[in-house]
């Protein structure tokens, strides 16, 4: 959604690059994709799930069960209503729907079907109509809502899992990727049936723990928005060593994870992507 009165982006220099040695470490793990028996109870991470308006990936029920907060962005509510019973065909649809009931349906309400809205409203789902706010995308509104709602100033154990952000209309996909850049200090993972992506902010050095039973081996590092003059990795088949990456030049795609830990340091924000196993 465009602002009604477009204005220049804030001027002023971007933050100067942090020297490599001074960067704090950030860890990443896809343990949320493991079957529930495999993850330790009380592991400390708090998950939220956001569902956007595209077909649910096959692991949607697993992530929903794992989350403490579940938000549907507008037509995402249709997808949960229609899609959850399809993914769990052994159960009565109404049982599935009441079990997989969103906490909130949020957005400008131009896609959610009236009967779906009413159904969930009757079950206690909070409906937050934001049709007046055309300045931010649905995902942006959902992330802002979840971070406001999560207790305490420290969001470091909050991880927002987003379904339906990739594929479909390309401008929506780009807007969703921009949300990762707009909230660099919040862990937000965009998931599809084929892969997941998340931001590796330049302010940190990154340890990515690979859950080989559910992800890999295909991976990539993409400098979306700004070229990188220096990126270094370990753990990949084709590691980067102080390498330049840019659109029009080299970007790291069709790479392979070779070890259980991948480390990445860069002078630029990068998008990490890894394939999901079927």
């Amino acid at each position: 959604m465009e602002p009604h009165h477009p204005r220049r982006a804030p001027t002023g220099a971007m933050d100067p690059p942090t020297p490599a040695g001074a960067r704090p470490a950030m860890s990443h793990s896809s343990a949320f994709l493991l079957p529930s028996s495999a993850t330790p109870a009380g592991s400390g991470d708090a998950y939220a799930v956001v569902v956007l308006n595209q077909r649910l990936p096959r692991f949607a029920p697993l992530l929903w069960d794992r989350a403490q907060v579940r938000v549907c962005a507008d037509g995402g509510a249709n997808r949960v209503f229609d899609g959850m019973p399809e993914l769990l065909p052994g159960h009565a649809p109404d049982d599935v729907r009441s079990r997989y009931k969103p906490d909130v349906i949020k957005g400008d309400m131009d896609s959610v079907r009236p009967e779906v809205k009413e159904y969930y409203s009757n079950l206690g789902t909070k409906i937050v109509d934001q049709s007046h706010d055309q300045d931010t995308t649905d995902l942006h509104k959902c992330v802002a809502f979840i971070t406001d709602k999560s207790p305490g100033p420290d969001k470091s154990n909050l991880c927002i899992l987003v379904l339906g952000a990739l594929g479909g209309r390309f401008d929506h996909e780009m807007g969703n990727i921009n949300v990762l850049h707009l909230f660099p200090n919040i862990k937000i993972v965009l998931l599809s049936d084929d892969c997941l992506i998340f931001l590796l902010p330049r302010t940190h050095s990154h340890n990515i723990h690979i859950e080989r039973s559910v992800e890999g081996p295909h991976c990539g590092l993409i400098p979306i928005g700004t070229p990188s003059t220096s990126t270094t990795t370990t753990g990949l088949r084709w590691n980067l060593d102080n390498a330049h990456m840019s659109f029009g030049g080299l970007i790291s795609t069709s790479n392979i994870v070779d070890e259980d830990q991948v480390m990445v340091t860069s002078d630029s924000d990068l998008i990490w992507t890894i394939s999901l196993r079927h």
């Binding site: 477009p6 390309f170 921009n178 707009l182 659109f247």
Partner: protein, 263 residues
């Protein structure tokens, strides 16, 4: 008012009239002067029309499986012989042996590039097209690609990178939902909107590097000497408000517009 010198920049015109049914295309336009490249994802619903009106058809590796399996179903006609690509090119690690045998027997040229593992299948196809095109025909060259978007994100990024690497060629990536193409910063762009088949949703993205100054006309929310950057403002969910959109920028930009009413 501050006057600024306007660099005289060559105009690059864009039109999606290749998406129109043949009957509706303007006379004497090279609208069917395009090469079609098919990558390995489900074919878009308008594929039969795109196929029929192409000057040449190239399947990139597993794209041949897609044509073999899906094309005749789309046309409700079981005759595979009607949809034979002129060329099948790539590293051949996805194409099924029986598919390769069938098309080879029907006259498709098989261009095996498996020795080259440095570049993607799309890169190889574009490079070959360029190599085969005589210089005097290069300005009219247009390549339409299906199956480049969606699926694995690193594949999508690599396919978008092909637009940047071959920025002097017109390459359009198409899906069921939208098309995308590069607007190089070297030109002032005029995009003619075919409203029967595209729009109204559109967007402009500085994927490679930020823009300090982008100006548009013809959009509902135009940009006026605006900065655009990931992490700040980018133009998504914009709306085309005119038959002609113009874009001028100090950065290479990706243009996208939604597709509609295509079968």
């Amino acid at each position: 008012m501050l006057w600024r010198t306007i660099r005289s920049m060559e105009v690059m015109a864009h039109s999606s009239n290749f998406l129109l049914p043949k009957l509706h295309q303007p006379a004497k336009t090279p609208a069917n002067n395009y090469t079609l490249v098919v990558l390995n994802q489900q074919l878009p619903r308008f594929m039969p029309r795109l196929w029929a009106q192409a000057k040449m058809r190239i399947c990139a590796d597993g794209g041949a499986n897609r044509v073999f399996d899906e094309m005749s179903q789309m046309k409700n006609d079981l005759d595979r012989n009607r949809y034979i690509p002129e060329i099948i090119e790539g590293d051949m690690d996805s194409i099924r042996p029986e598919v390769k045998r069938f098309y080879s027997s029907q006259g498709s040229k098989i261009s095996d590039k498996s020795h080259n593992q440095e570049t993607t299948d799309l890169h190889k196809c574009i490079s070959s097209i360029r190599h085969r095109t005589p210089d005097h025909e290069k300005p009219n060259l247009c390549v339409l690609v299906t199956g480049a978007l969606g699926g694995r994100f690193d594949h999508e990024a690599a396919n978008i990178n092909v637009l940047y690497v071959f920025s002097d060629m017109r390459i359009v990536l198409l899906s069921d939902d939208c098309l995308i193409q590069l607007l190089p910063k070297t030109h002032h762009h005029e995009i003619y909107i075919e409203s029967s088949v595209e729009g109204p949703h559109c967007g402009i993205f500085p994927i490679g590097a930020p823009s300090t100054s982008t100006t548009t006309t013809g959009l509902k929310w135009n940009l006026s000497d605006a900065e655009m950057r990931f992490g700040s403002m980018i133009s998504t969910s914009n709306i085309v408000d005119s038959d002609k959109v113009t874009v001028q920028s100090d950065a290479d930009l990706l243009w996208t517009i939604s597709l509609r009413n295509l079968t």
